[in-house]
């Protein structure tokens, strides 16, 4: 079955080509014999396009989906047109030589079938795109269209003895015809039925559009644009006929263009309807037509009014009207386009307006630029839409919180790069359905680009800050680890060896024979040296890192307070904090205490430590001379240590009012 269908499709297409070639050849012959015809040679191209395009598209569809009636509508429709057009040419040539040529008269008869141009578009209107009616309710209108069009075709064939056309006059070669009176009586109801069917066909397209899925809508739109051209052609030829008197070659050519367009529309709708934006084309065409009509009206009104003032037909009136029309053009064009957009591209219009509002909000600090993803989700009608931001100098992306993504999520969403010029700002993740409206997507992204760039910069800045902070914390951490190791090395290495050395000396001293007792004082001195060295080492080790910190900040601060030369009132929380936090706090306390005693001549120092809300607070207050400068070397060092832990350090030190240093260290481990 499928095989036969293919063969039939090829056969039909071949027949179309044969008919088209015949038409071209016959017409060329007629041309060479000087027979004037309604079709000049330069219009042949339009003819070929109008005939061949539906055949090619039909063949393509038939080969891929032989079951779809659309293919056969196109194939037989183009064959019908090709045969009729060939008949027109043959009739012209044959009857020119012999009024009674049988071939010429048959050709003249066939050439009467002008409905061929409308029959297949009408069929498409009912059956496109799936070859079925939209619903059973459309059976009656479809049957009505078929009967009235078919009736017209039959009546044109059998109705009249007299044939007229480009060839002049001829008589039908049929042995029997219905006759003038009855034929005409039957023809007009069929013609009216045909016109009604054109309208109901349009209604059918509309119904399919309104009920169809997004895909069907797009396919139908392509066809609708082609169908739209038909009434335009009707109107244009009618107008031309009224003004010039004859639609002539231009009208014919235009009709062929419409035919070709319909075929192309079907081809695109069937294969790549998502690729091109027909709604935009429609809106532009409509805008153009409305604008032309308005300008014509303006011009006409201008001519009339100026004519009243300056006299009919004066050049000044025409110039004035032209000027008015020209002035009106700019504003009119914008208004018309906006109105048409609102009507025909409402989704895009509203989406772009929404993003525009969001960008305004960002400018006025009513919205965070990072929310651009959410705004896009609303504008695109895709709740899964999300924007991730490109990080320059890496291949990575970050989300709106500034978290680095291991990779773009592979969850079926489309990854669409957002570009500003050549630069990639980020990637829009969206549902594949959004792609059906690339025009909307493009417009919305263009509107959102500034916000996306702003958000990207902020995310980048946050990430860089976090990187700096964490590297600073790592360096501080490494410093503390190093101190700890050093302290261990001093105690367990050097100090241990010195003690051993001292013991060896002592045993030597005690085992000296009586006659060598003179060495005793020297050995005593040596051991004293060793003891001194051990004490020095212990002091150094404590400065590197007090071992008491192993038992907690409170214990270390207690030792510190005990060792101070002025009374220190200490209130230390027994709660532990992470080791690096405790070390930082300890050194702050050390430095502050040293300052209080050495530089501020304090007589009393208070130290408080407390832990709440995951923050370690340490306050050191003295009753000294005050006036400490926060930029002083020691204090700057303290501030750096605290900042490395992500904490804050505040110094209040009015002259004569003592110094108060408050530190807050976050305890996140």
């Amino acid at each position: 079955m499928r095989r036969y269908a293919r063969s039939l499709a090829w056969l039909t297409a071949a027949a179309v080509v044969v008919a088209a070639v015949a038409e071209v050849v016959v017409r060329a012959v007629a041309q060479s014999r000087g027979i004037r015809h309604s079709f000049a040679p330069e219009w042949e191209l339009f003819y070929l396009a109008g005939v061949l395009a539906p055949a090619v598209v039909g063949l393509g569809v038939a080969l891929r989906r032989p079951g779809n009636r659309v293919a056969w509508i196109l194939l037989f429709g183009s064959l019908f047109v090709a045969v009729v057009m060939a008949a027109v040419a043959i009739a012209g040539l044959a009857l020119h030589h012999d009024r009674n040529s049988v071939a010429g008269r048959w050709a003249a008869l066939v050439s009467q079938e002008w409905p061929c141009f409308f029959a297949w578009p009408l069929a498409l209107a009912f059956l496109f795109p799936d070859g079925r009616l939209p619903s059973p309710r459309w059976r009656l209108p479809a049957a009505f269209a078929a009967v009235s069009t078919g009736g017209m075709v039959l009546l044109l064939f059998f109705g009249s003895r007299d044939l007229t056309g480009g060839f002049g006059h001829a008589t039908s070669p049929l042995p029997w015809v219905i006759g003038e009176g009855v034929g005409t009586a039957l023809f007009w109801p069929c013609f009216v039925g045909f016109l009604v069917s054109l309208i109901s066909g349009a209604a059918c397209v509309r119904a399919r559009y309104r009920r169809g899925s997004e895909d069907v809508r797009r396919q139908v739109l392509w066809l609708a644009y082609g169908v739209l051209l038909l009434p335009i052609w009707f109107g244009a030829t009618a107008l031309w006929g009224l003004v010039v008197g004859d639609s002539g070659e231009g009208g014919q050519a235009l009709l062929m263009v419409v035919q070709a367009w319909l075929a192309v529309a079907v081809a695109v709708a069937v294969s790549r309807h998502g690729l091109y934006q027909i709604d935009r084309l429609i809106s532009r065409t409509v805008a153009f037509l409305v604008l032309t009509a308005l300008l014509a009206a303006t011009y006409a009104a201008g001519v009339t009014l100026a004519g009243l003032a300056a006299g009919r037909g004066s050049a000044a009136a025409a110039a004035l009207a032209t000027a008015i029309a020209a002035l009106a053009f700019g504003p009119l064009r914008r208004r018309v386009q906006t109105a048409v957009d609102r009507r025909f591209a409402r989704a895009r219009f509203e989406a772009v307006a929404l993003i525009g509002g969001f960008v305004d909000d960002v400018h006025n600090a009513r919205a965070e630029p990072e929310d651009v993803g959410a705004a896009l989700a609303v504008a695109l009608g895709d709740p899964t839409a999300e924007v991730v931001f490109r990080l320059p100098e890496t291949t990575g992306y970050a989300d709106r919180e500034g978290r680095l993504l291991p990779g773009l999520p592979d969850d079926g969403r489309v990854h669409r790069p957002v570009l500003l010029g050549e630069r990639e700002l980020g990637v829009l993740l969206h549902d594949p359905a959004v792609e059906r409206n690339p025009d909307l997507l493009r417009a919305v992204l263009a509107a959102a680009a500034v916000a996306i760039e702003l958000a990207r910069l902020r995310v980048e800045l946050r990430l860089q800050l976090a990187a700096v902070e964490s590297s600073r914390a790592r360096i501080a951490q490494a410093g503390y680890e190093e101190r700890r190791r050093l302290e261990r090395d001093l105690h367990d290495g050097a100090q241990q060896r010195l003690v051993t050395l001292g013991i060896v000396l002592r045993r030597l001293q005690r085992s000296l024979p009586r006659q060598a007792q003179v060495l005793v004082p020297a050995l005593d001195a040596a051991v004293d040296e060793v003891s001194g060295a051990i004490n020095d080492l212990r002091t150094i080790a404590a400065g590197v890192r007090p071992p008491r910190l192993d038992q907690g900040l409170a214990a270390a601060l207690t030792d510190l307070a005990r060792g101070a030369t002025v009374p220190v009132e200490l209130h230390a929380t027994p709660e532990r904090a992470p080791p690096d936090v405790e070390v930082t706090a300890y050194f702050v306390a050390c430095e502050a205490l040293t300052n209080a005693i050495k530089h501020a001549s304090s007589s009393h120092v208070e130290m408080h430590s407390a832990r709440d809300d995951g923050v370690l607070r340490l306050v050191i207050a003295d009753d000294g001379v005050g006036g400490a400068r926060p930029s002083g070397g020691g204090l700057t060092g303290l501030a750096d240590r605290v900042a490395a832990q992500g904490g804050t350090l505040k110094i209040v030190s009015a002259p004569g009012a003592g110094t108060r240093i408050a530190v807050e260290l976050p305890c996140v481990s």
Partner: protein, 217 residues
Amino acid sequence: VRVVIAEDTVLLREGLAGLLEDAGHVVVGRAGDADVLLALVEEHQPELAVVDVRMPPDYDREGTRAAVAIRRDHPRTAVLVLSQHIETRDVVELVSSGGGFGYLLKDRVLDVDDFLDAARRVADGGSALDPQVVAGLFGGRRDHDALDELTPREREVLGLVAEGRTNAGISRRLWLTEKTVETHVRSILMKLGLVINTEDHRRVLAVLAYLRASDQG
């Protein structure tokens, strides 16, 4: 006195053993870590264990923990803990929780007579607390009132009492007669409001308890 030594540095361990043996003690066991130490104590039931605070595997406070275990499981074995640096608080608690415990900085060993004296005191059920710890207890006090009433000499004596020394030891140290030392001690205890048998080791505990209480209060 039979002694077990726990110290991970071999040279130092041998040096300590030599010192103790020179003084007439018997070193019955040498350990390099806490586990061996506990096994040796179990085996030999010595009168004294000399223990390093930091030992393998973690070089943290294995020695202190082993000391607590020994005092708990073998009350007749006294423990003398040696450290490279001062760790005040829990050490004071250990010392004042009863006799038979000592805590000294490692380099006190170099003052050989003092060290041997402390070792014997501890082995006899007394106590020994490093002077630096005692100094810390004095320094950390917030109310100096009661201590301020002591004469400098009395304070010196109080420190030595806190270290765990006997009156005889104090008299040797300060070049005083035992009688004078006894007078000083009575006067001190009276001024501090402590009423105890002056000869008893428990006076050390009382003094330490006093110093710690006022330290914390």
